[in-house]
Amino acid sequence: MNLMADILLNVIIAFLVGSVLFGLQRKIMARIQMRPGPPIIQHLLHTFKFFIKESAFPKTAAMPFYIAITAMLCAIWVAAVIVGPVTEGSLLLFFAIYALHKIVEHNAGSSSGSPYGKMSCVRAVFSAAAELPLFAVLIIIYLKTGTMNIGNIVTYQGHYGPLIWGIPLAAMMFFVLILSKAPYSPFAITKGKDIISGYETEHFGLLRGYLMISESIAWYMLLWVFLTVFIGGLSPIGYLIGMVLISALVALINATTPILNPNHSIMVQVSLAFIGVLGSIILLTVY
């Protein structure tokens, strides 16, 4: 297949599946909380709806950065699709993309000129200090498999079985990282309702729709990396089932847990990272 067609197809699949999974998550959360909840395609419809809504740009916004930052978020997750499903490249690049996502959260908040955005921008730095150590999972994967290449990791699992059994604490760390990116998550301090919509507060109308497209791609990619790295190369149906299961589990956690106070959120994540790294090293030494 033509490379551009491959990239476009994967980006569209990532957006559509990511959006529907977000919708599913809201539906499950609603049912747990005894509410009927919105239709599963609501997130997708919202995304399209924002593109035709009346939009205006705040006077306090730092133009053109305020608009460019939304394009940057989209660009980094398109890059993730290229590194992931298209080329099965290096996990290290995926780490760089995740780190850039935190920078975008920070800059989107600060470029809007809104006090809520600025508060969220401070929290983005704060949460990066906790989420990035969770990415120490990469070192553990490297120590176990001797490679950072996604394709080689899949081949390794073909010979020795899924990594989730070999390094379960690393899988737990990555799951916490996924959880921290979900809406209404206990760790979603950058979008806590106490600061309205956090860094997205002043990005409304088409810019919100644009951010939602990127977030859907991000959600799909995080789940894709988890399934590929810890369970191995699956069939498309296998990926779909895995993504639905993880999204349902995340929805269950989000529906039953309040958003933590920023200090507690950081402490919990850092503690989990510490337990994960130390425990995995002990497990690798023993077995």
Binding site: N2, L3, L8, I52, I67, T70, A71, C74, I82, L206
Partner: protein
């Protein structure tokens, strides 16, 4: 047509042209990556800037004059 709409149309047409060019011809991989990273986000953004609704010019003054009723 205002300046923003004109720029958006130009960017949208350029983005689509590059994407279609990469779809038709088999280019070197790094060029396709560059086109994807720059022009896929740009095409969505420019499309959004074209499709978004804008407030009426005559309503603008009323919006500014609206008394502060919060708190």
């Amino acid at each position: 047509m205002d300046k923003l709409k004109t720029i958006s149309w130009i960017l949208f047409i350029i983005s689509i042209m590059f994407i279609v060019y990469a779809l038709i011809f088999n280019l070197v991989n790094w060029i396709v990556y560059a086109i994807s990273l720059v022009f896929i986000p740009l095409s969505i953004l420019s499309f959004g800037l074209i499709s978004m609704a804008r407030g009426k010019k005559e309503d603008e003054e009323d919006k500014r004059k609206e008394p502060f009723i919060g708190y």
